[in-house]
């Protein structure tokens, strides 16, 4: 959390997108996270993705829970409404916000402590309901704000900064999201902006529950030998199954159809995802196959990144509830309050 605003001065020739916004318009307050924190890289990726997607910043609602990661919404999209809720409970608040106004874009930011421990239930249920959102977990495998305890995503056998070995099995949020029915599932690395930015863009364009687990090393408490969430470990064990480009509908669509290497996937909003396969047999439309692949690679100590699963025909919570197309918070008395005739009939039926 910070109260330090960024200086208003900026280069007059900063490029603006078609809405007239520069990158600065997508920034927020000055980060007070540790220098080198992976979370700041994720914030930068969010800023770049929103700028490139040409989203009006104020139409994005950013919500978080409690923890280092949950402080980060203060550091991007300064003109958006943000909500730093309570520990682990961001998903329910985001669900309610989404129900109130389906026209906004919802970005939930959470951490492994927030989402994999106290908030595991809310994480799972928001995913299974298909809330239209991008849910990012900034996963550093450690409790940073309370100085270095293991989190529930810490891998079994990994070591803390003090050399303590973790004997508990780690929770893999990607596999959980797949099992819970997430319709967009990805994993990335805060140190791989080239991969992360298009994933965020694609997830924001996705209609339904989109989840990105982003390994984000904690430079203070979990960036040492023995950690499986350090910069070095992730760089050495990262196995990207694909690369992604997002072509938004307003651009001329040019897709490389080279067989066997690129898969074009149309999303609800008309954007096209160009999915470049790296792992030859990986199929991101196969939920069961994705789970098996992830488990096999995890057993080898590898961290699979990229777009792991996508259902381009996903339905979101509003569709499941069959709500009206306009935001519920915009309905007026005439649309909400039944007539006096209704009341008269009800009274008559109760005598």
């Amino acid at each position: 959390m910070t109260y330090i605003t960024k200086p208003q001065l900026h280069h007059p020739k900063l490029a603006a997108n078609s809405l007239g916004y520069t990158r600065r318009d997508y920034e927020g307050s000055v980060s007070t996270l540790c220098a080198g924190c992976g979370h700041d890289s994720i914030s930068a990726a969010i800023i770049q993705a929103c700028y490139e997607l040409e989203l009006p910043p104020h139409r994005i609602a950013k919500l978080s829970g409690i923890g280092c990661s949950s402080k980060t919404p203060d550091y991007f999209l300064g003109n958006s409404h943000g909500f730093n809720t309570v520990h682990g409970r961001m998903p329910s608040v985001l669900t309610g916000a989404n129900l109130a106004n389906r026209d906004l874009i919802y970005l939930g930011v959470s951490g492994d402590g927030d989402s994999a421990s106290i908030g595991l239930g809310q994480f799972a249920h928001s995913i299974r309901r298909g809330v239209n959102m991008l849910y990012i977990v900034e996963n550093n495998g450690v409790y940073g704000l309370t100085k270095g305890q293991f989190s529930a995503t810490s891998d079994k056998g990994s070591k803390s900064k003090k050399g303590v070995v973790n004997h508990d099995a780690g929770i893999d949020l990607v596999m959980l999201a797949l099992q819970m029915g997430a319709t967009f599932v990805a994993r990335s690395f805060s140190g791989d902006k080239a991969q992360l930015v298009p994933l965020i863009k694609a997830a924001l364009a996705h209609k339904g529950a989109a989840f990105i687990d982003c390994i984000s090393p904690c430079v203070q408490f979990n960036n040492h030998v023995g950690s499986t969430k350090s910069y070095d470990y992730v760089r050495e064990h990262n196995e990207a199954v694909n690369r992604l480009d997002v072509v938004v509908p307003r651009d001329e669509i040019q897709v490389d159809y080279a067989p066997g290497t690129t898969v074009p996937v149309a999303q609800h909003d008309g954007s096209i995802l160009q999915l470049h396969k790296l792992a030859q047999h990986y199929d991101p439309s196969d939920r069961v196959g994705a789970l098996a692949y992830l488990q096999a690679r995890q057993a080898l100590g590898e961290i699979v990144t990229g777009l792991l699963f996508l259902d381009p025909e996903a339905r979101d919570l509003h569709e499941n509830l069959d709500t009206v197309d306009v935001p519920l918070n915009s309905l007026n008395e005439a649309e909400l309050v039944p007539s006096l005739d209704v009341l008269a009939k009800l009274n008559a039926s109760l005598r």
Binding site: G82, G96, A97, G121, D322, T323, L336, V337
Partner: protein, 610 residues
């Protein structure tokens, strides 16, 4: 000796849970209502689906006393498990109605009561082959028999059966036949009782409805569009009724789409989380729960208080603490509602006394939540929530607007109005808010549970925190004038003694006041209907030497709130407490208060002589 009474007696049915008696007993109550005689019905049921004892009490009350009286004039003893305690409850001269198929030893009865035996099992076994039929129709047969014994018109019961099984003629015919079996047995073998139902015109246009249903309808008229809930007795039927009403009345006629969103959440924490999120984003949202749910929601309620987000909670109170008595009634969440949260928190509460007020306050709660930007509790209890009460019909002013409170719009922001999310512009402690997404460059802010300055910027400055907390107190003071005012009911003669009460105790309290008055014991009375308490409440206390506080919990929670919020001398407030899980009775109040008043008079008399 035989009791004799016309339109003024208590019938209690002792049944086994799951035996299908509920609809038959309910039909019995409603038939008397259809004859123009008021009834007060109470379902007393176990936390169990099948097998344990359950009771249904019907007070026939030509005088319109809608609380429980106490005592039983006619016991319909259909449960061998509870036979002894059921017999013990009957008033001297009262009546026992039982299944006389098998003879019972003399010691199973009482000499001072009248026994009415009908061989229900024998009649059923002769008429029906299937065990389930025998069980269900036995209930209808005893209703037919009771109708004949009490003078209830069979045509009224037939009409009710016709309504209940509309379109299912075969069921109507079968049930009417069963009714007649009971009636015919009585006509041929027994005489009418001294207790009689005589057609009257004392019901008027009142309706017979549960508080939960009325609250749900209040939420519909109050403009609630988001409901998130988790099943818990006794609040579940509130959310279910809201769902039904929305399906009927909140569907877009052109598209068939829903103008509402209802989520059965994974738990109470998620329920209130959804409500807070929706409230933050400008929708009217609520949850329905009971005490254990409020415990789980407490963290979010604190967030709602400090981050100033509208939310409505219908708390249908039950017996606590912990799991307590889940299907019994209490008024034991007052302190939890008033102060839920850590740190210094206070929440407005509305205290309806009957389903009519559940409807009104159910709608009002949403205006108040938006106006005050905080959690507002509607404090029902199981007695109001799950029992059908005779109450005034639902009324609505078609000109009434939903009060969205202080919301700064795009036009306001464009016009250059200063926006500080927690800025007290009007001096009433209530700031302006904006809905997310309203303006590209103005009105955005960060909502958080941590301390912040009037412009919503994080701050740990002590003075900033204190200013904010003081503003929240000002806001709570503003709420005093917005919650429903208390209602005073002055004694016929001037008195220095008073009584304060609220909620479901109200009808029993009113009857007790009449009883006490007839005994020459005069009390001024005040019913509180909202928290924070209006100044009139404390003026009332100041104007009396002693004030009884009648409530349904062990620790005198209303009294504690009065002492705490009004700086009242505790000795001045005398607790009168009923907390056995059954609704408070007029006899209990009159006995307890009357006893205390008489005892005090005895103490004063010698002093006066000196």
């Amino acid at each position: 000796m035989s009791l004799e009474a016309v339109n003024d007696f208590v019938v209690k049915f002792a049944n086994v849970n799951g035996s299908g008696s509920a609809s038959a007993n309910g039909m019995f109550a409603k038939s008397i209502l259809r004859m123009g005689v008021p009834v007060a019905a109470r379902n007393i049921f176990p936390s169990n689906i099948q097998g344990l004892p359950t009771w249904f009490e019907v007070r026939v009350t030509g005088a319109g006393h809608l609380g429980r009286r106490g005592g039983v004039d006619l016991m319909v003893a259909m449960n061998p498990q509870t036979w002894d305690r059921d017999i013990a409850e009957i008033e001297p001269g009262g009546y026992l109605f039982y299944d006389s198929t098998k003879p019972l030893p003399r010691e199973k009865f009482r000499d001072d009561i009248n026994v009415v035996g009908v061989p229900l099992t024998a009649i059923c076994n002769a008429a029906y082959q299937l065990p389930r039929e025998r069980q269900l129709f036995k209930n209808i047969i005893y209703v037919g028999a009771l109708a004949a014994l009490l003078g209830i018109e069979l045509e009224v019961l037939e009409t009710l059966l016709g309504e209940q099984f509309k379109g299912k003629d075969r069921l109507i015919t079968a049930n009417v036949a069963a009714l007649k079996m009971g009636r015919d047995y009585v006509a041929e073998n027994l005489h009418p009782l001294g207790l009689k139902v005589v057609r009257a015109d004392a019901v008027g246009d009142r309706i017979f409805v549960e508080g939960n249903m009325a609250s749900a309808l209040g939420a519909v008229y109050g403009g609630a569009t988001v409901c998130a809930w988790y099943p818990i007795t006794p609040s579940t039927s509130l959310a279910e009724a809201f769902t039904g009403f929305c399906e009927d009345y909140r569907t877009d006629p052109e598209t068939g789409k829903a103008r509402y969103a209802i989520v059965q959440a994974e738990d109470e924490i998620a329920s209130i989380g959804v409500v807070v999120g929706a409230g933050w984003n400008g929708a009217r949202a609520f949850t329905a729960t009971s005490g254990p749910g409020v415990s789980l929601m407490t963290e979010f309620i604190g967030l709602s208080y400090f981050a100033e987000i509208p939310a409505v909670i219908f708390d249908v109170q039950r017996g606590g603490p912990s799991t307590g008595m889940p299907t019994r009634t209490q008024q034991a969440d007052l302190l939890a509602g008033a102060y839920a949260g850590h740190g210094d928190t206070k929440h407005p509460m509305l205290l309806p006394a009957d389903p009519g007020e559940c409807f009104e306050m159910g709608a009002l709660a949403f205006d108040l939540a938006d106006r005050l930007q905080t959690t507002v509790f509607v404090m029902l209890d199981l007695d109001i929530g799950m029992n059908e009460w005779l109450t005034k019909p639902f009324e609505w002013d078609p000109e009434r607007k939903l009060d969205r409170g202080k919301v700064m719009t795009y036009e306001d922001l464009e016009a250059g109005k200063e926006f500080g999310r927690y800025l007290d512009v009007d001096g009433d402690g209530v700031p302006y808010r904006t809905y997310p997404g309203v303006h590209p460059t103005k009105g955005g802010y960060f909502t958080r549970g941590t301390s912040r300055n009037p412009y919503a910027r994080y701050s740990e400055e002590g003075s900033v925190y204190v200013d904010n907390m003081q503003r929240l107190l000002r806001k709570f003071d503003t709420a005093k004038a917005l919650v429903p005012a208390p209602i005073a009911r002055l004694a016929k003669r001037a008195t220095r003694e008073g009584v304060i009460y609220f909620g479901s105790s109200t009808p029993s309290m009113h009857e007790a006041l009449e009883t006490l008055d007839a005994q020459g014991l005069h009390l001024d009375a005040m019913r509180v209907r909202g928290f924070p308490f209006a100044d009139e409440v404390f003026d009332f206390i100041a104007a009396h030497d002693r004030v009884f506080v009648v409530e349904q919990n062990r620790d005198a929670q209303l009294r504690t709130l009065l002492v705490n919020e009004g700086d009242v001398a505790p000795a001045k407030l005398v607790p009168v407490l009923n907390y056995d899980g059954s609704p408070i009775t007029a006899r209990f109040i009159a006995g307890a208060v009357g006893g205390l008043m008489t005892a005090a008079a005895r103490v004063r008399a010698p002093e006066a002589a000196e």
